[in-house]
């Protein structure tokens, strides 16, 4: 392993590869800073372009994007209260109040250190766990996959929105979409209306480009104006004290990183949940939780360290099981397959050096992104001042070209456009899109896992609590369902006690 790691490092540090890495970092920053674009879109656009590239170049670029998006997203979250990416939303909570008080530079400084430190923590964890990948893979059979998929859908539906019911509705729509196409268990074709295009099901990448990028641009065109409503806070002083603050609050960094890595590793749960949980655990552990939300720097550090740590966590199920840990990873999976790497048990053995290269690219890119982000912060923020009527057509055209170029299927354009409208309607009527995407990704896994389990056990339900892994998963599902009822119960209980006392 050490020699391969060194070789990978040497490969990554070759001038050519570095250019791709830096290119990825810049793309990641730009896409991160523009709300609605984010890493998923950047990777989706990049995917067809990586085709002619060497594996290491493609990985350097993808790693550069994934490591840098968080930084970009947090810059607009802090300066403009408009999270550039979904996981950066948690950074708004205390980051923007800091900006309002004139501490914007300090907040961005904290991001610039917390982000790569979280990333580094995640990478070290990933390197430790890699040798066990095979054992981890064999822990998951059809019953476990079913339970993991259910857990992912439930968790996201429960936490993606303040309105659980809407989250579940969106998850339900995603499940329906995932049923389209060839049923690999029974061989029937469902909802394909005789078209060869739908035979393969709803393709993920065009769906993602539609639901996020297109939807956001439709909103921008309809509402008019610029992405950023208020650009008054684009002044930068006191970066250094922010940089130092992260080291002063090292406990917060570690807690955030652990949360990020763990939650990132659960397929389909992803970054947004990770950053919000990191934020709330830090808040709950603090002596003065009520002061959060008014500009506490810990409230920036915690979600930021989780934001980059989650990428490493998310890589594990993506590589080992071929199950994406996040929407971003789903697109990354496409890049892997495009370069002839079939995710699965053999990938670590067959492509060890490439994977180390990718892991290193993730680390370097987080550091690079901080440096570049700090020096270009004014220009990046200027993108959010571009008028919608100029930005929207460019972004829409570029995304559709990207979608078509991937498989040369005109149907992909129609699908992206259709889901763009659906995505806009969901934005407009305040339905979370994440559960839909997660359900679309995990629906097939859930269905297949369930049916195969039933075939293996010959109809015995006991198979779902047959192994320690599945028992743990069942408990987690029950807990995450129960979690959302805790505040309600507490309120009822309090009301009951008050009622009894009077």
């Amino acid at each position: 392993m050490p020699e391969l790691l060194l070789q990978a490092a040497a490969g990554l540090l070759s001038p050519e590869t570095l250019i791709f890495l830096v290119g990825g970092v810049i793309i990641g920053l730009v896409f991160g800073v523009i709300p609605g674009l984010g890493g998923t879109t950047a990777l989706a656009l990049l995917l067809p372009l990586t085709f002619g590239m060497e594996v290491m170049h493609a990985f350097a670029m993808a790693g550069g994007i994934m490591g840098a998006v968080a930084m970009g997203g947090s810059i607009s979250a802090i300066l403009l209260n408009a999270p550039g990416t979904a996981p950066s939303a948690a950074t708004c909570l205390d980051g923007h109040p800091m900006a309002k008080q004139g501490h914007a530079a300090e907040a961005i400084g904290a991001v610039a250190t917390a982000s790569p430190l979280g990333g580094l923590f995640g990478v070290l964890t990933l390197l430790l766990v890699l040798p066990l990948a095979r054992d981890i893979v064999l822990l998951f059979g059809p019953p476990e996959f079913f339970l993991v998929a259910v857990f992912g859908i439930v968790t996201v539906a429960m936490s993606a929105s303040s309105n659980t019911l809407r989250g579940l509705v969106a998850g339900g729509i995603g499940l329906m979409l995932s049923f389209v196409g060839y049923d690999t268990v029974h061989g029937g074709v469902r909802y394909a209306f005789g078209s060869d295009y739908l035979w393969d099901g709803i393709p993920l990448i065009p769906a993602l480009v539609g639901l996020f990028g297109m939807a956001e641009m439709i909103r921008l065109s309809i509402e008019g104006g610029t992405v950023a409503a208020d650009a008054s806070a684009v002044r930068l002083q006191g970066v250094a004290s922010g940089l130092r603050a992260t080291f002063r609050h090292w406990k917060v960094v570690i807690r955030g990183s652990i949360t990020g890595t763990l939650i990132g590793a659960i397929p389909g749960v992803g970054g947004t949940v990770a950053t919000f949980i990191a934020y709330s655990t830090t808040r709950n552990a603090d002596r003065d939780p009520d002061s959060f939300g008014s500009g506490r720097i810990e409230g920036v550090i915690a979600p930021e360290s989780a934001n980059n740590a989650k990428d490493s966590g998310a890589l594990l199920p993506t590589l080992a099981f071929g199950i994406p840990g996040s929407a971003e990873m789903a697109v990354f999976l496409g890049i892997l397959v495009l370069h002839g790497m079939q995710p699965g048990p053999a990938i670590f053995a067959d492509h060890e050096q490439d994977i180390y290269g990718l892991i290193l690219a993730l680390t370097f890119s987080a550091i690079l992104a901080s440096i570049i982000g700090l020096s270009f912060v004014r220009w990046l923020a200027a993108i959010t001042l571009v008028k919608g009527e100029i930005l929207a057509p460019i972004v829409i055209a570029v995304s559709l070209v990207g979608v078509f170029a991937m498989q040369l299927r005109p149907g992909d354009i129609v699908l992206a456009a259709t889901l763009g409208v659906l995505g806009y309607l969901m934005l407009r009527f305040d339905y979370p899109r994440l559960p839909l995407v997660i359900a679309l990704i995990l629906g097939e896994t859930a269905e297949r896992g369930f049916q195969q389990s039933m075939m293996i056990s010959r109809g015995e339900w006991g198979i779902f609590v047959h192994s320690p892994t599945s028992v743990v998963l069942v408990v987690l599902i029950v807990l995450s369902f129960g979690w959302s009822f805790v505040p309600m119960l507490r309120k009822r209980l309090a009301a009951g006690i008050a009622g009894a006392a009077s």
């Binding site: 029974h186 061989g187 048990p345």
Partner: protein, 315 residues
């Protein structure tokens, strides 16, 4: 420039039967359609072969692989079938993957009996495999089991599913198939994990797991066995099961002019003899079994007959 190219290819089209000179063919790039994503067995094979084809065809043109994945290979097959028969679009067919839907009467926009066959690159035999620590040591052990044997496969109608059905029906083994695994690596993992007793795997997929001892071969179909512990179709008294293999065949749209067909066939056969390609085969552990157009055409009709007699097992 483009206009000139087009005029020339129209001239080539008009010359069918009348003139034997292929009007300077080839004078533009040739596309090889691959019905799968890049990186798979079919894709790497074509990519390794393309430079040789360029060398063995007259004129300095490029041979460009084009991946058209989808619908289990049917999208690629349709694309080849519907292209102009001018020799500039050829492609690779996964057999019997694209044959089975045709026999199942699934509407397809191609008809394999009308394809202009150019040759065969090679084939991948099926391995009857069990887990490394399985008590089953031979096919006899399997048929003496007092219960039905469980297998893993991808979806109904897939080549692995059909092959599993045919083997067990022919050998009279009671069986059940757990379907729905994603690709051959999916049910290979299921076999290693112990989800079921046995599986039919293509040799190229099984190779590294056979070497590591995770799985063990009890029989091989589609090729003669070189290992005394591994039975082949003849040993099992069912020689027709030798038809069970995945074959990579090259073809062109129907009615390809004969002179162009001959040029492509010869270039294909010649490039498979290239030193460079041979080295690639050896380093990657790929097999090559070159066959010409006539042999390929015969193999297609033989294969069609074979699967046709098991028609009731295809769905």
């Amino acid at each position: 420039m483009r206009v000139g190219v087009r005029t020339l290819s129209i001239a080539a089209l008009l010359s069918i039967g009348a003139c034997s000179e292929p009007a300077g063919y080839p004078n533009k790039d040739i596309t090889i359609v691959i019905p799968f994503n890049s990186g798979g067995g079919f894709d790497t094979y074509v990519r390794a072969l393309a430079p040789g084809l360029e060398r063995h065809l007259p004129n300095a043109i490029n041979v460009l692989p084009k991946n058209l994945p989808g619908a289990g290979g049917r999208r690629g097959a349709s694309e080849i079938f519907r292209s102009k028969p001018d020799g500039y679009t050829i492609g690779i067919f996964n057999m019997p993957g694209v044959l089975i839907p045709q026999l199942q009467n699934i509407p397809t926009s191609y008809e394999l009996s009308q394809v202009t066959w150019l040759g065969t690159l090679g084939y991948d035999p099926y391995i009857y495999a069990v887990r490394g620590d399985s008590p089953l040591k031979s096919i006899e052990d399997v048929s003496e089991l007092q219960r039905s044997v469980t297998y893993g496969a991808t979806g109904p109608g897939s080549t692995s599913y059909v092959a599993t059905n045919i083997v067990n029906e022919r050998l009279g083994i009671p069986y059940e198939i757990i379907t729905g695994y994603t690709g051959s690596s999916g049910y290979l993992l299921g076999l290693v994990r112990g989800d079921f007793d046995a599986a039919l795997l293509s040799q190229s997929v099984a190779r590294s797991y056979l070497e590591s001892g995770d799985i063990r071969a009890l029989a091989i179909f589609g090729s003669e066995s070189s290992d005394p512990d591994v039975a082949d179709a003849d040993d099992l008294g069912a020689p027709e099961l030798g038809q069970l293999r995945v074959v990579r065949m090259m073809g062109a749209p129907p009615d390809l002019p004969e002179d162009i067909r001959i040029m492509l066939e010869e270039a294909l056969l010649a490039s498979m003899q290239d030193q460079e390609f041979r080295v690639w085969l050896e380093t990657t552990g790929n097999d090559v079994h070159p066959a010409g157009a006539a042999e390929t055409e015969a193999a297609v009709s033989e294969m069609t007959q074979f699967y046709d007699q098991f028609k009731q097992l295809l769905d």
